[in-house]
Amino acid sequence: MQNDLLTFGGRALASRLIVGTGKYPDMTIARAAILASGAAMVTVAVRRVDLSRREGESILDVLQDAKLAILPNTAGCYTADEAVRTARLAREAGLSELIKLEVIGDQRTLFPDTEGLLQATRVLVKEGFVVLPYTNDDLVVARRLRDAGAAAVMPLAAPIGSGLGIQNPVNLRILIEEIRDVPVIVDAGVGTASDAALAMELGADGILMNTGIAGAGDPVKMARAMRAAVEAGRLAFEAGRIPRKLHASASSPVEGLIR
């Protein structure tokens, strides 16, 4: 199903689910869950090497044989400048132009600073990055990001790590309907499989999640659930759901009943 690939920035991913690599209880569970999710791309963060202790096994060590695309993020950056610096370091560390751009504007909600986001997007696009910005479910901002050269837009469903699910399906639907030329990837807030299915049924091109899987009671099982939900939601979207009606419409023939 060639047309069912998630494509952006000259890449085609075999899965519409992108998963994070943080917050797992240990590396064995992380690896098992990430593989079970079927994701073809995983996110990582860029952090200072801890000089005070010997480095243990890294997430990239345990995923080395899995041939997953690596999407570094600029998580924790509160200004466009910090995000740009982090992106440049990520490019050198990973030898790839891909960047999940985060410019955070508020500590408690981790809501994006959309002004800083736009600014950083413009700089990084000019430098040849494939920019995937984490943004609000705001159509106007999404349009500006697209116009600035973002390879996709990644609106939140709810605050990062909240597991609240899609808080504003109408905003998301409007955004998805209007942003047609780059993929819309729902990033953040998915709590369980039905949230993922709903996002895909609304027409999202993909979903990025971390805590929903990593924080679940059984992360490997939840990864399988999310994989199935993303596939089911996508299929339902492509199939086209029936219109909602107020009254019943019999599924069995009304003729030929015994009297």
Binding site: T21, R47, R48, I70, L89, E92
Partner: protein, 66 residues
């Protein structure tokens, strides 16, 4: 000589290169990225670039994250 490394003070031998510094810290060059005084240094230049007294270095790597 004194350098600033990942937010702390660090002693490095005179004339040390970035490669030498990584070796001393037992870090694989293929796994890290380095910024010297705000500019990212290409991995291919680690052997060539020498550290100077007072340089501000950031040595980063990928870790688990969303």
């Amino acid at each position: 000589m004194l350098i600033h490394l990942n937010g702390g003070e660090h002693q490095a031998p005179e004339g040390a290169t970035l490669s030498g510094l990584l070796e001393a810290m037992r870090l694989q060059p293929g796994r890290v990225a380095i910024e010297v005084n705000g500019r990212v240094v290409a991995r291919a230049d680690f052997e060539r670039v020498q550290i100077r007294e007072g340089d501000v270095l950031e040595v980063v790597q990928f870790v688990g994250g969303g």
